[in-house]
């Protein structure tokens, strides 16, 4: 990709599956995930980095998929909200905490919130309640008044400490 071009062939891993594609350089990662790869759990809201709904996990980090070009994710490992639950449908701990605390209503912002919290709590990471709450500044939720999300975070922090 050191030669300038307006179109590229890509290969990345999405939710554990190899995905290949060809797309214009100007295509955002969010659009690639939705339109080319079919992961419509990636919710594109504002498309200029304000709302956080399109947040996905790229190489272990929560990032806004509207603020990254698909071509930049060539070779990357990506997790969307579709890739978090177990194959048998058992919820990821973040999803379970969100459900148990009624942390969503319309659900538009939810995939982004879940991806941020899943990235923060991945592996042996034990983020504090304060760290998880601080990361929520990057998400806008218009339904819940955030209190359900706060409770889900409290529950996750308690689970992590246990």
């Amino acid at each position: 990709m050191s030669e300038p071009s307006s179109e590229f062939s890509l290969e990345m891993t999405i939710n554990g599956r190899r995905q290949t594609g060809r797309c214009e350089a100007r295509k955002s990662l969010g659009d690639f995930l939705r339109d080319d790869a079919g992961y419509t759990g990636v919710h594109l809201g504002c498309e200029h980095g304000v709302c956080g709904a399109c947040t996905v996990i790229v190489d272990g980090k929560a990032v806004r998929s509207c603020l990254m070009l698909a071509v930049q994710a060539d070779g990357a490992e990506i997790t969307t909200v579709e890739g978090l639950a177990d194959a048998d449908g058992t919820f990821h701990p973040v999803q379970a905490a969100m459900r148990d605390e009624h942390a969503l209503q319309c659900g538009f912002c939810t995939p982004g919130v879940v991806c941020t919290l899943a990235a923060l709590t991945a592996g042996d990471a034990k983020p504090s309640e304060e760290q998880m709450l601080a990361a929520m500044s990057g998400h806008i939720c218009r339904c819940t008044g955030y209190q359900g999300i706060r409770r889900a975070i409290t529950r996750l922090a308690a689970g992590a400490a246990a």
Partner: protein, 289 residues
Amino acid sequence: MKPAPFDYAAPATIAEACALLAESGGGATILAGGQTLMPLLNLRMSQPFIIVDINKIAALKGIARTDAGIRIGPATRQADALGDALLAAELPVFVEALSNVGHHQTRNRGTIGGSVALGEPAAEMPATAVALGATIEVQSARGTRQIPAHDFYLGPYMTVLEPDELVTGIHYPAWPSGHVILFREVAQRPGDFALVGLVGALALEGGVITRAGIAWFGMGPTPIKARAAEAALLGKSIDAIDSAAIAELAISETAPFSDHHASAEYRRTVGRRIFTRTLSEALNIRRAA
């Protein structure tokens, strides 16, 4: 809301990147973290012919001690700098300022150099570079140059960078251990640009200030170095400082805007108060120690 078509290249070396910038005749835009550029592309406020992505250039990443301080590669992610042990130990005010840049998710992509080179006047990183006396290393196919941060900014989003130039490093001079750190910003929400902010450091020897670096952000068209306040602090004992008088000097050099977030008068009033409070609290802690 999609960007206008463009060509894209991700060169592996600084020389290749500089060659692309030179060939483009000013039609290129450098893509670092993309956390400001991508919105501008999506909104079509920016329509470059070619995007030069510097994320694959290893030489532009990393944080290292040098003979005179700390050098940060411009493509270093903000999140990586935030977790860096060397910066935490030697430039804690930089880390404090950085923790206020954007959000967790944008810091995972956003870079130090992108923020410094963009020149948003209400942003933390340009003011921090000015306050701490940083030097910005720049390269093009024509050669290299070193620009003091306080000469780098011309106006909102305007810098002395030529279209064919690439920032290749930001050098922060060492501040002696035990220096006093000053940081305070007022923003409407966490992660928002500051309405008013100040950042700085004071070096002490036996309770006397031997070096002062202070800058405002959100208080004019560029980061504003508080030169009169710095001069008034130099050589003073920390027991003999009238924080309110120093704040008045610092405010006298600002040129805040009125916009829909706050009036210029609001910014001056709040600026005066946070300067006085931040300076006196920092000095009180030092006197008590």
